[in-house]
Symmetry: C2
Subunit: 412 residues, 2 copies
C-alpha cells in the first residue's frame, strides 16, 4: 500500500473535458398523452390557420356592421333573427341586409356578417333583435389565421414540453410528437460491504444508498436510470457489470475509486477504454474518475463517483447533472433555475488549494452549512442546496452572502 494518488485536476478543467463529451441524440415519436417534460426534436410549424376559420369572439349577434350604424341606447335598431349558431355548428344562412344570426363564442361567422354585437347590448323578442349599440366591421370577430398563420413557426426544436406547450401541440391536432429519446444511464454501486435495502444487515455491512439516490437524481435530469445490482469490489465483477450495460449511453459507478483500497475501477476503465480524469482538486469528491469506453458509433461515458453518499451526490450535482441535462436537452430549464443569494449562518473555514462544495439547510434567507463528514446520512436528510468555496478563498464570515444552488431533483 501507500499513496498511489492521483493526477488532481482543477474543477474548471474537468468541466471543460465533460463539455467535450458526446452521445448520440436519437429521436422518437411519442403519443401526445405521454410527452410531459419531453424535449421537442424538431421545429413545429402551424399545420392549420389558428383560428382555422373566422369566428365570434363573444356571445351575441352576427351582423353586417353597417346595419347597426346609428343604433344607441335611446334609439335602438331592429334586425331579423334568421338562425342560431353555437360553437361547433356550421351556419347555413347568409346574413343579408337587415338580418342577424344569434352566435356563440367560438362559432363560425355566417357569410355576409362582418361583426358581432355583444348580447349585453341587445334585447330579443321572438325573431326580432333590438340593437342598442353600433359596431364597426371586425368588432368581436377573430379572423382566420389572426393568431397564427399556417406554416409559421409555433414551437422550436429543443422546447421542453410543459403543460402549456402540450396545449399548443393539441391546438394543431398533433397526436404523434417527435421528441429526443431520453438518454439511458446505468447506475452501479460497488462495494463488498453493501446490502440492498429490505435485506438483512449483518455486522460490518451497510445498506446501499447511492444506487437509489443517484438513480433518482438521474430521473431529475430527464434521463432514464437503468436498474442495477450491487457489485463486489473486484476487477472481474466490475468489468462484467460494465459489459452488461454497453447498451447504455452513460454508466455511473460509485465506490471503488479511492486509492488505498485498491485502484480497481481505474484498471478496468484503462483496460476497456480511456481514463480522462482520475482525481479532482475539490472537497468532497477528490477520487472521482471519468472515462470513455469505445462502442460502435460513439463512446460510452463513464463517471466513477466516490462511495460516500454525500461525496457521490455532490459530484453528481456539480459535474454529472449538467452533463446529463445537456444530453437530455433539458439544460434550458436549468438555466432558468436560479441560484439564491443567502446569508451564511456561521463562519466557514476551508483549506486553501481545493475548491470546497458545502451542503446547506435553507431557512428563510439563511443558509446553514452542514458540517458533517461525507459519510453522514443526516447531511442528506437536512440538505436543501449547496454553495462553492473557490480554491483561493479560506474563510467566509458569518452573515456573508453565498450563492446557493438547489440540489438536482425537481425536474422529471
Amino acid at each position: 500500500m501507500g499513496n498511489v494518488f492521483l493526477n488532481l485536476r482543477d474543477p474548471d478543467d474537468v468541466k471543460k473535458i465533460i463539455e467535450s463529451l458526446k452521445v448520440n441524440r436519437k429521436v422518437e415519436k411519442v403519443n401526445l398523452a405521454d410527452v410531459y417534460h419531453r424535449v421537442l426534436a424538431e421545429d413545429v410549424h402551424a399545420t392549420i390557420d389558428l383560428p382555422p376559420f373566422e369566428r365570434a369572439a363573444m356571445d351575441g349577434y352576427a351582423v353586417r356592421a353597417k346595419d347597426t350604424f346609428g343604433a344607441s341606447e335611446d334609439d335602438p335598431l331592429n334586425l331579423n333573427l334568421i338562425e342560431k349558431v353555437r360553437a361547433g355548428d356550421v351556419p347555413l344562412k347568409k346574413v343579408e341586409e337587415g338580418a342577424c344570426t344569434e352566435i356563440g363564442t367560438g362559432a363560425p361567422l355566417p357569410s355576409g356578417a362582418d361583426a358581432v354585437v355583444m348580447v349585453e347590448v341587445t334585447d330579443v323578442k321572438e325573431d326580432k333583435v333590438e340593437i342598442f349599440e353600433a359596431v364597426a366591421p371586425g368588432v368581436n370577430v377573430a379572423a382566420r389565421g389572426s393568431d397564427m398563420e399556417k406554416g409559421k413557426l409555433l414551437l422550436s426544436k429543443g422546447t421542453i414540453l410543459t403543460p402549456e406547450k402540450i396545449g399548443v401541440l393539441s391546438a394543431i391536432g398533433m397526436s404523434k410528437i417527435p421528441v429526443f429519446t431520453q438518454p439511458t444511464v446505468a447506475v452501479i454501486s460497488t462495494g463488498n460491504e453493501l446490502v440492498k435495502p429490505g435485506e438483512e444487515l449483518h455486522y460490518g455491512k451497510l445498506y446501499d444508498i447511492n444506487s437509489k439516490s443517484i438513480s433518482n437524481a438521474v430521473k431529475s435530469c430527464g434521463c432514464i436510470p437503468l436498474a442495477s445490482k450491487i457489485v463486489k469490489d473486484d476487477y472481474n465483477s466490475i468489468k462484467e457489470k460494465i459489459n452488461e450495460f454497453k447498451h447504455a449511453d452513460v454508466i455511473i459507478t460509485s465506490g471503488g475509486t479511492s486509492a488505498g483500497a485498491g485502484d480497481i475501477l481505474r484498471q478496468v476503465v484503462s483496460d476497456m477504454g480511456d481514463v480522462l480524469v482520475h482525481g479532482i482538486s475539490i472537497k468532497p469528491g477528490k477520487p472521482t474518475l471519468i472515462g470513455t469506453l469505445p462502442e460502435e458509433n460513439v463512446d460510452i461515458i463513464l463517471f466513477g463517483l466516490p462511495g460516500y453518499p454525500v461525496s457521490a451526490l455532490m459530484i453528481f450535482n456539480v459535474f454529472v447533472a449538467p452533463f446529463l441535462r445537456g444530453i437530455a436537452g433539458v439544460s434550458d430549464y436549468n438555466n432558468k433555475k436560479e441560484a439564491s443569494s443567502l446569508k451564511l449562518s456561521r463562519r466557514y473555514h476551508s483549506a486553501r488549494g481545493r475548491s470546497h462544495f458545502v451542503l446547506v439547510k435553507i431557512e428563510g434567507d439563511t443558509a446553514h452549512p452542514i458540517l458533517k463528514d461525507s459519510g453522514a446520512i443526516t447531511a442528506l436528510a437536512e440538505a436543501d442546496g449547496y454553495f462553492e468555496v473557490p480554491k483561493n478563498v479560506e474563510i467566509i464570515e458569518e452573515g456573508e452572502e453565498v450563492r446557493v444552488l438547489p440540489l438536482s431533483g425537481f425536474f422529471n
Copy 2:
C-alpha cells in the same frame, strides 16, 4: 338570452373558500424504487444506529492510539501487522499491544483498536508497519451511532422524496415506504366544437386543447390526471360524465361556464350538489365555477374552468394548482419556488375594478407582457410565467418591477 351573469366574487374570498375545501388523504406503501417525488405519510425514525458499527473513516492501520505516542517523521515506531480488513469484512483478531490491522475506509474497527493511522503516514514491509505520526484515541474512527442513533427522527411526515431523501430511506434499509396516495383528478373538456387531436378537423370545429394542457398541469402538482373524453355541451352529457368520475377526488371541467351560451354546468352542479362560486372578479377567467358534489365520506370538489385555453390555464395556476399541491402534500415545494422580480418591458393598462393576471415571456430580467386575447394559442407558446395587477391598480409603467410567478409545470 340576456345577461344572466353572475355573482362576481373577489379573488381573495375565492382563495379562502378553496382553502376550506377538504379531501381524504389516503396512505399507501410503495416500493423504494418508485417513490420519486412522493410525499412521506409518516415520520421515519432511524431503525438502526448510523453508522451501525464503529468503523474506519480512512484507509490505513487500526491501532491502539497509545502505541503510536511519540512516533514522528524522524523517529517512526514499528507495529506488527496481524490482519487485513476491507469494507464488508468482519475483523477476526484483537489488536493487542504493539499490533495493528490494515483497514479500509468503512470497515469495522477490530476490538482492541481505538484509532486509525492514515496510510499516507505509514510504510509497510511484509508484516511490519512503520508509523510516522502519533494519533489520539478516536482519530479517523466513526463511532457507532455517531451520525444518528437508533430511534431518532430521521425524516418528517410530509417530506417530499427527492433523490437525497430517498438515499436516507435506503440508509436504514427501508424497502416499503408509507406515502400519501396521489389525489386523482378527472379532466373533462366540454364543447360541441371540440375534436380530439389526431382526428380530422371539419369546418367550425377546433382541436381540444384544455384536456391535455390541464391534465399535464395536474401532473405537475403531484396529482394523477384521469383520462377523459370530450363531452357535448348539454345537460345530460355533462351530468353523465361527472357521474362517471365519482371515484375521483377532484373534477376539473373546462368550457360551458359562460352565461350567454347557456349556463349548463351551473345547473348540473346545482342539481347534483352545491355551487360555491360562480364568477370571479378577475380577467381572464371571470365565469369560473367552484362546486362540491356529495359523496359517501367527503365531497368531490369540482372546478369549472372557462373554455378559452389561456383563461383555463390562468385560473388553473392561480386557484386550482395551489389547492392540488396542498392536497397532494407538495405545497412545501411551492413555497420554495420563488417569484422573480422582473422589469416590465412596456406600459400595462388594466381596467380598474377587476384583478388582472397577465402572461409574460421572460428574457433576462425583463418580462414582456403577452397582450393577446384568451383564445390565442401563441400566448401559450410564448408564456414563461405571469404577474397579477391588483384591482385598484390601473397602470404599471414600463420599467416598473413586477412579481412574476412561474407557470405550474416543473414539479414531478
